[in-house]
Each structure stands twice: as structure tokens, then as C-alpha cells.
Symmetry: C2
Subunit: 396 residues, 2 copies
């Protein structure tokens, strides 16, 4: 009878795995509208200043600040408005002493002007304005390059693009963004006990509804991958072997669930040259990895833990994604005893700084995943935490 | 000359707005594969227990626990294996005293058995197994309804569906999920100064590259909406009026940028019966709302703040989304003085519990959005915070 001779410590297993996974080289160019959520494949360097010219930051009058230094409530300074620039135009005239040009927000600062006074701050009569307070040089001007300077790296390789990042790319004149190609992730589900939907008959025969495929598809998509489903296979050694070969040929990595232990029906590990098999993680101990194949459990909660502790990090490395996790500090509302020697994956419900432990145990308990929105990792050498302690958790 | 007579306090403005926005009634059924990110329109109640039967939680032998109570290392108890259940099958025999049936993880517990002993815990010889330690009743059995009980609400209306939620829906036999229809969000961009891409010529004429449309499209999609773009309009009163009417007819809400202030080119507010116009938020003060129309600024950073402080909450209300924001506690690394009377939207870079203030000022400064991943709200009556203080921030 086989079993795990030695459980590989989590950090060691993760290192073995990540050392074997390479960042993929392939990039593609996608239109801006499809770029949100994708991972930038190159540093983006600006080729011009933004703003590209000094411009008005408010609606008002472009003036020479010096003209207003003596302005007081009791000593209004009169300036003559020599031009009014319509929206989207530039001034034809130049501002000289005693003169002003009416500008709108965004208007290029007219020659000779070095400040803009807000229109609400002056009194206008005919072509005259009256300034009641001094205006500082540079006031209400958005200067050339104030947002981004020519030659500056404005977005770094590895950025997971957000709407505001894409807005900047548009400002730079980029129409198609170089992003990492999504890694192809083969998903193989095994288990003769699995059925596609619940039925009285199926239950009588002891069958279980298969849920790992749709969960893994969603998780893979969330973490930059393109899931490719290879079906739900019976516990048949030759079918599993054949499908695994096919998936390995067609995909960058392969996730196979249900064959991770040493039960009579667990074949997957036989067909792969494993770097390790059996780790200290709990749940999910029978996890194994080799030849880009992730040998995962059948239980949804174990699969979920294995995804978060291993697959997620591998996918992030493959596309070079930065900051793909949100870690927050939270105060524990419960004691969590932890087993020495095991690296525990504790399901947490996080809200407003408080971490509550989801108590439902058992790696088949899907409802415990639904009730949680974060996880806490407890290393092998820790006996756990006490209520009131501050811990770092990772949001799903 | 018009201007804001009184700025409406942020909370008051938000309440006026949300009171005017209704949850939309329309729901649609989408396949599970398209449900991630959508908002559940109904409570989901289970129609059967999960698991639907007592099942083995490990590979091993289904036995009567009582048979093993005297088992010791020095007093092994012999049991006869009367059947081996293959994967995906059920036992034909019944377990009686002195008997055992070999089961796999997930196998329905055979009649007569009340515990499962892991196969690693017994010694097997021929059709006999030897038990060395007592087994407790119920051990290694996943009981009927342990995950979810019949009649239980397993997912609540308003849940933003995640891969694990969808897995549960599959377990329940749900093939199409009732979700809220995405609110149609019209986006109108105004400004004669706007061009579609940067060009020397455009810059010479004082033009600015338009970036709000793509940013708003991405933000609307992130927060449950379907963006519909009505183009980039020149500052032409009749064109704006006409487009606004069209968008109001076709959409659930309308966002219009660039016409929010009282500048000569700011028309939008003239065509809408506003509930309020001008709020204490900073940046983004000229925001106005009425008749499902959101009158927004032209500056990207103001638009971004207005989206987060108003539009996001409106969209969440329209679809009834719960927990659509992540709030975390962070330690400030910088002093933040704040203007009394203004509700400040402070851009933050959050990492590992530390909040750093993004210093670039100016509502045109798109790069400040790129550098940030969270925001801090400072109410009107606060003079700000000091370095080292703990504050609540909202992650983008």
C-alpha cells in the first residue's frame, strides 16, 4: 500500500513548482476596449509631454500676473479683454500689459500670459474686467509635462490593466496594447462517481454532481488564463493517460482533479514525472506537480485551496503579473488552533477590518467557500492564532 | 454671472440621488459559464440535501464502529471484506458484525455501516482486514445535508457571483441563473477641444486627447452596467440637447462629461431638471444630478472621483448588489491636511497595510490615478489626518 512518505513543506513545494514554470514570451496586441484585466507585456514610455502645452485649468482670463500685484478690493485693476477664445480654439492675440484674453478650461495659454484668473473672481463690464486680488504667476495653469514627461515610463510591464490605465494609453495615442497571451490551461476532471446534474436516480447510485470544472474555469479566467476543458473522465487508466497526453501537448499547463491521492482510482500521478507529491497544505495535502501538470484533489474545497496556494501563483508568474493579490490586516474574531506540521488554508469572512473564521469543516463543504471571501495561511511551525490577534489575510 | 450659490454636502447629495434611483426589476437567465460577475436576482433555495446521502469521506472500509471498540495494537480485530465497491457504484451487500465493505471517497455508505476506516489504518491479508485502533461512530462519513440542508438559502439575492458560487449553483442543478439585467448606461462626452488621438497639429490648435469615454466604459462594466457610447460632441447647445434626449430615452441612466460647470460652454445642466448641482466633493465639485442624468466634469480625475462617489453607488443600487466595495484599514504614511467644508477624495497607494498619499495634484493629472489603487474620503468637518493614523480606505 502506497502513501505519502514525507509531506513536502508548502514553501519548498511552491518554490520547486515556480522554478519549473517560465514566464511565457508570447504577446499580442489588443484594442483598448478589450485590454482591461489583461497584463501589460512591455513598459509604456511616453513620446511627448502631457499636457503637450501649457493650458488653462479653469474658465477665466489669461493675464500677466504682474499686472495684478497691486490689486485690492479698494483698488481694482482694470484690464481690457482683447479676445475671447471659443472652445477648442487658440488665441490669435498676445497678452501684453493691461490686457486679458478670455480662455476656457483646457485652452492653450496665449502668448505673453503667465496666469489665469477664474472668471468668478473678476467683475466684467463690457470689454473690461476688474481684478480685486493679486494673482500669482502660474496660477490656474496646467503646465506642459505636469501629468507625464516625455520619455517617462508611465505604465510598467506586468501591470494588470484597469480602466484608468487604458485611459492613459489612449492619451498616449496607443490604439492596440501589447499584452501577454493568455496561458492555455487544460482542465481534466476525473471520477466515475461524477454526474453532470443532480437526479434521484444518480443519488441512489451514489453519484455526485461535478462542480470543479466550472469553478476552475472561472478561477483560471480571473487569473489571466484561458481555460480549455477536456471533459469529465471515468476512472479509467488508459482514457486518463491519453487525455493527459493530449492536454499536455495542447496547453501551457494542465490541471487534473480527482487523481491526486493513492487510492485505487488515482492514476494521474503515474503518468507524470512529479517534482513533488504530497505537501503540508491542509486541506489539499495530496497535491502533486511535474511536467506542467498540477495533480489536484477531487474535493472542491481542496481544489480551491490548491488553486490559491499553487496554481494562482504559477499563472501570475507565466504572465508576469504584478500585484495580483490584495492582502489586508484584520483582527481575528475567533481562536484558530492549527496543527503543527501542516500549512493551513483557513477560510475567512472579512468585513470592515474583522476576520471571522468560517467554521464548517470538511473539504467537500462547498458552502464554506460561499460563506468566505478571504483566506488566512498558517505556516507549519505555528500552533495558530488567538481571538483579537492581527493577522494578514488574502482576499479572494 | 452664474456660480454655485451653495455647495450641497456630499452625503446629502448622495442621498438625494439614491432616493431618486430605483432598483431595476428586469432579470434575465444566463448560463452558468457567463454568470461570474453578475448580480443574483433571487435567493437560491436548495431543493435537496447536499450531500444527498451519507458518503465516505476517504478511501477505506465501511464498518460497524462497535466491532472495533476493543481493537488495540496488541489486539487486532479481524473483519471480513465481503464486497469491494468500484468507483461510481454502490454496495450490493449490507455490513453486519464482523464484516466490512471496501469503499472509495464519495461512495454511498453501505447499509449497516456507521463508520469508515481509512485504508492506510488497516492491514489487509486476502479478504481479511485487521483493525488496530477503535473507530468512532460517524468517523470519515460525510453526512447527508452536512454541506447544505434542503430548504436552506444558499445564495442571497444581491450576491456578486464568483466561481465558487457558480460551482454551488451547478451542484444544485441550476443551469441558468437569474441575474439582474445590466443597466444601460449612456455616456456622452462633450468638448470642442477634444480629439481622438494625439497629433502635432491638434496640439498646436490647443486640442486635448479625449480619455473619459474609455475610462467610463471600463468603470461601468466593472460595476454591473452596459455602457452605450453616444459619441464625443462639440460644445453645441442643440447637438448636446438632442443627444441627451436620445440617451435619456434609450438608457437607464446617462453620464455626460464636460458640461458640469457654469462656463460658457457648459450647457448640460440647462436641459435637465436638477435635484442638485454643485457639491462639496473635491475634486469634482460641479457634479449635478437630475432625471437619471449625471452631469460630470471634463477632467479625468474629477470624473473618476464623481464616478466612485456617486455613479458606482447608483449602479450598485440599481442591481441590488451587496458588498461591492472592499474597505480596508491602513496606516497613513503621510500627513493629509484637508480643507474644511470640502469632502475630499484622496488618491492612495495601498500596500501591505500602508496607505501612501499620491501627491500629484490637479484634476487633469491622469498619472495620479495610475499611481493609486485606493481612495480615502475626508468629510467636510475634518481638517485631515496625520501620518501614523489609522484610516479606512476603499480599494478601486
Amino acid at each position: 500500500m502506497m502513501e505519502f512518505k514525507k509531506l513536502v513543506p508548502y514553501r519548498e513545494a511552491l518554490k520547486l513548482l515556480l522554478d519549473d514554470i517560465n514566464e511565457i514570451e508570447d504577446t499580442e496586441k489588443v484594442p483598448l476596449r478589450e485590454a482591461v484585466g489583461r497584463v501589460l507585456a512591455e513598459d509604456i514610455v511616453t513620446e511627448f509631454d502631457i499636457p503637450p502645452f501649457d493650458r488653462a485649468a479653469v474658465d477665466g482670463y489669461a493675464i500677466r500676473a504682474e499686472d495684478t500685484f497691486q490689486a485690492r478690493e479698494y483698488n481694482p485693476i482694470e484690464l481690457t479683454v482683447i479676445e475671447e477664445v471659443p472652445a477648442g480654439n487658440v488665441a490669435k492675440e498676445e497678452v501684453t500689459t493691461g490686457k486679458a484674453i478670455k480662455v476656457l478650461t483646457g485652452t492653450r495659454i496665449p502668448k505673453g500670459a503667465n496666469a489665469v484668473i477664474m472668471q468668478e473672481m473678476v467683475k466684467r463690464e463690457g470689454d473690461k474686467i476688474y481684478v480685486l486680488r493679486p494673482v500669482a504667476p502660474g496660477q490656474n495653469i496646467a503646465f506642459t509635462g505636469e501629468d507625464v514627461k516625455k520619455g517617462e515610463v508611465v505604465l510598467r510591464k506586468g501591470t494588470i490593466l484597469r480602466p484608468q490605465d487604458v485611459a492613459m494609453l489612449k492619451a498616449l495615442g496607443i490604439k492596440k496594447v501589447p499584452v501577454k497571451v493568455k496561458p492555455k490551461v487544460g482542465i481534466i476532471i476525473t471520477g466515475s462517481e461524477l454526474i453532470e446534474e443532480p437526479s434521484e436516480e444518480g443519488f441512489k447510485e451514489g453519484k455526485i454532481v461535478e462542480t470543479n470544472s466550472i469553478m476552475l474555469q472561472g478561477l483560471v479566467e480571473k487569473f489571466f488564463g484561458e481555460p480549455i476543458l477536456y471533459g469529465v473522465l471515468p476512472d479509467d487508466e488508459s482514457i486518463i493517460k491519453e487525455t493527459l497526453e493530449k492536454a499536455k501537448n495542447e496547453c501551457d499547463i494542465v490541471l487534473i482533479t480527482g487523481g491526486s491521492a493513492f487510492g485505487d482510482k488515482d492514476y494521474a500521478h503515474k503518468f507524470v514525472n512529479l517534482l513533488f507529491h504530497g505537501t503540508t497544505i491542509k486541506p489539499g495535502r495530496p497535491f502533486g506537480y511535474g511536467e506542467k501538470v498540477f495533480i489536484m484533489s477531487g474535493y472542491p474545497v481542496s481544489v480551491f485551496a490548491q488553486f490559491n496556494l499553487f496554481v494562482k501563483h504559477a499563472l501570475a508568474k507565466m504572465v508576469g503579473a504584478q500585484n495580483y493579490e490584495v492582502k489586508v490586516k484584520a483582527i481575528l474574531q475567533d481562536d484558530i488552533p492549527s496543527q503543527l506540521g501542516r500549512y493551513e488554508f483557513i477560510k475567512i469572512y472579512y468585513e470592515n477590518g474583522i476576520a471571522r473564521v468560517i467554521k464548517k469543516k470538511g473539504s467537500g463543504i462547498l458552502s464554506s467557500l460561499l460563506a468566505s471571501n478571504a483566506y488566512l495561511e498558517i505556516p507549519e511551525d505555528s500552533e495558530g492564532y488567538r481571538r483579537g490577534e492581527e493577522v494578514w489575510i488574502t482576499l479572494y
